[in-house]
Symmetry: C2
Amino acid sequence: MELLTRSAILALPKRKRSNLMNYVSGFKSANLIGTISSMKVTNLAIFNSVVHIGANPPYLGFILRPLTVARHTFQNIEETGFYTINHINVNIYQKAHQTSAKYEEDISEFDAVGLTPEFKADFLAPYVEESHLKMGLSLQEVKHIDCNDTLLVIGKVEALWLPNDCYDENGHLDLSALETIAIGGLDTYYTTQKLERLAYARP
Amino acid sequence: MELLTRSAILALPKRKRSNLMNYVSGFKSANLIGTISSMKVTNLAIFNSVVHIGANPPYLGFILRPLTVARHTFQNIEETGFYTINHINVNIYQKAHQTSAKYEEDISEFDAVGLTPEFKADFLAPYVEESHLKMGLSLQEVKHIDCNDTLLVIGKVEALWLPNDCYDENGHLDLSALETIAIGGLDTYYTTQKLERLAYARP
């Protein structure tokens, strides 16, 4: 095996380090976050850091990079208090990836990449019509991470939309029926195949 | 589509809600965290919440459930300042899952499930010999999440061990060569298949 010490990692060229260190956490969730500004411009951005925070009550978090450049997603969440999280599926991953381009504030990524904003059940923020599992969230809590100025943004799940009959009586959700994909690193997309579901472990 | 509102989610039976809400973030990373206590008892625990925090310098985070019951992993990290994160691969996922059973404090999950603690390069915490990508970390920062008493634990990557020739000149890592798997929900394991790597997006 090869050993990369901390100093060897720090000595890597920037792009190589950035790519490599984005892989080492393992597979990542693939989601689009939808928001709307107070000027009614919709915004859509891909995030690979959505993480489970709690089930009762239901909370999800995501990591936001430092606010050294404009972060329209966070700006809109702070302004309105609401956002959506939408699973990226195999049919839309290329469009989802394209939302990471730096569009001007008055351009909606929905229009720019060809995805459809969907407003429903009076929720303020736009869902992604093409996504098969989507949630409406309200901002709950923001934690500043001191070591590198990133933020952990936590939201409360207000609404969960999903196809009929895609989860069983125990709450097991069929992620393959949703065609949800996974991400490796910053730019590599993966389909998945179920290996096995394991029983609750006891000593 | 079916709509589950916040109150419908809260009204689900506990286990059903717990399972379902653990799926909705999308695919999760699959890692084993290795520690050692001040009494020299090794500990190994599966985590599905390891998340990228930063590349320069390299930081990783994970979410820890409330400290209402003994959390040996966190206790050991606080006592010693060090831990390892080890990718779970297709050969060890059943043993990895078994670490989630509630073993007594004086029992090492390494022994209980049949994985091998590996001490190397003078790092205090044990790596998992059977894992193909493993990292030694030092504790950097702990954030308390107010809404549900969970913790975000952030560590600095001190050492990264991986097979020779598993990443390219741009830092793209071949996760399939590592046989790294993904998790859905709390207990479902997935292999992956690469769809596509996409270029850096520009407007």
